[in-house]
């Protein structure tokens, strides 16, 4: 990423641990896309996603000494973001039953090809139950394999696989109807 500021990549964590706020800000800039994207796709609400992402980084600031490496940091951020998002969805069912227009609208920067279809696909993902949604996002947004997803969500591997299988079947089933409606 280009927004890391003046701190060399390998030293950021060490410098942030030493209490340098500029280094911590650079860490935030480096990981903000992942944390915010996961929060946004989970909650389907820009304000809630921003708030949750900020809380995740605040928690990181408090627990930075528990993070041992950059890889651990990426794992920790995904784990905390997803657990916080799932907790929030359970506490606030509004997010689950929302029209999810905003989720559909939240186009990625790389989106191209068929924008209508992709928009609808995002909407369908946002309608999945929270745990299944988390699994699908970690698989297709973060490109994690099922073992990594199981570790991140503290979920049995077979549960991850069954969530993936069922979610894909559900999306496939609903997508052709949508495609007809779109044309």
């Amino acid at each position: 990423m280009s927004g890391d500021g003046e701190c060399p990549r390998g030293d950021l964590l060490t410098q942030a641990l030493a209490g340098e706020r500029a280094a911590f800000a650079a860490l935030v800039r480096r990981h903000q896309r992942v944390v915010y994207s996961l929060a946004l796709r989970m909650l389907a609400d820009r304000h809630a996603a921003e708030d949750l992402a900020q809380e995740v980084f605040l928690q990181l600031y408090r627990h930075l000494s528990a993070v041992s490496s950059e890889a651990h940091l990426a794992f920790w951020l995904r784990k905390v973001t997803m657990h916080r998002a799932i907790d929030r969805l359970r506490r606030t069912p509004r997010y689950e039953s929302a029209t999810l227009e905003e989720a559909a609208e939240a186009a990625s920067e790389t989106a191209q090809a068929d924008p209508l279809l992709e928009r609808r696909l995002r909407g369908l993902v946002a309608e999945l139950p929270p745990a299944a949604r988390a699994v699908v996002l970690l698989r297709y947004q973060e490109d994690l394999d099922p073992v990594e997803i199981a570790r991140t969500l503290k979920m049995p591997l077979n549960t991850v696989k069954s969530h993936l299988k069922r979610s894909l079947a559900q999306l496939r089933e609903r997508l052709p109807k949508t495609a007809d409606a779109l044309t």
């Binding site: 927004g3 942030a16 641990l17 030493a18 209490g19 706020r21 911590f24 800000a25 935030v28 800039r29 903000q32 896309r33 992942v34 915010y36 994207s37 946004l40 796709r41 996603a49 921003e50 992402a53 900020q54 980084f57 605040l58 600031y61 408090r62 930075l64 000494s65 939240a106 186009a107 990625s108 920067e109 790389t110 989106a111 191209q112 090809a113 068929d114 279809l117 992709e118 928009r119 696909l121 995002r122 993902v125 699908v136 996002l137 297709y140 947004q141 490109d143 894909l168 999306l171 496939r172 997508l175 052709p176 495609a179 044309t183």
Partner: protein
């Protein structure tokens, strides 16, 4: 997309494309740093280490005071038990002494009052 059956790979490719990253914008990091500055969040390591040390010192001091109090209490209780045992022993000796005295007096009285064995024969 006109086909009814979406092949698995195509669906996965579309999912990856649709679920790309979204950046919260340039202002996000400054907003996080502002929240950190506004909230009483301790600096990562130094504050944590300081807090751990102060809690450890407090715990040790509290343990020390508790140990002294318990030792004192134990000693007082032992002294009281010793005193009580001594009092009971003296009481028991007194009672025994009185019983022996009484027995001695009874024996002496009977011996003085009894007639000589050969007087009536």
């Amino acid at each position: 997309m006109s086909e009814d059956l979406e092949p698995q790979e195509d669906l996965e490719r579309r999912l990856r494309s649709a679920l790309g990253a979204v950046d919260p914008g340039e202002g996000f990091a400054p907003r996080v740093m502002a929240r950190i500055a506004a909230e009483p969040v301790p600096p990562p390591r130094a504050a944590r280490a300081g807090a751990v040390v102060s809690w450890l010192a407090f715990g040790l001091a509290a343990s020390g005071v508790l140990a002294v109090l318990l030792a004192h209490e134990w000693q007082v209780r032992r002294l009281e038990q010793g005193r009580e045992a001594r009092r009971q022993l003296i009481e028991a000796l007194k009672v025994t002494d009185e019983k022996l005295n009484l027995a001695y007096r009874v024996v002496n009285t009977r011996e003085g009052a009894a007639p000589p064995e050969h007087s009536g024969a």
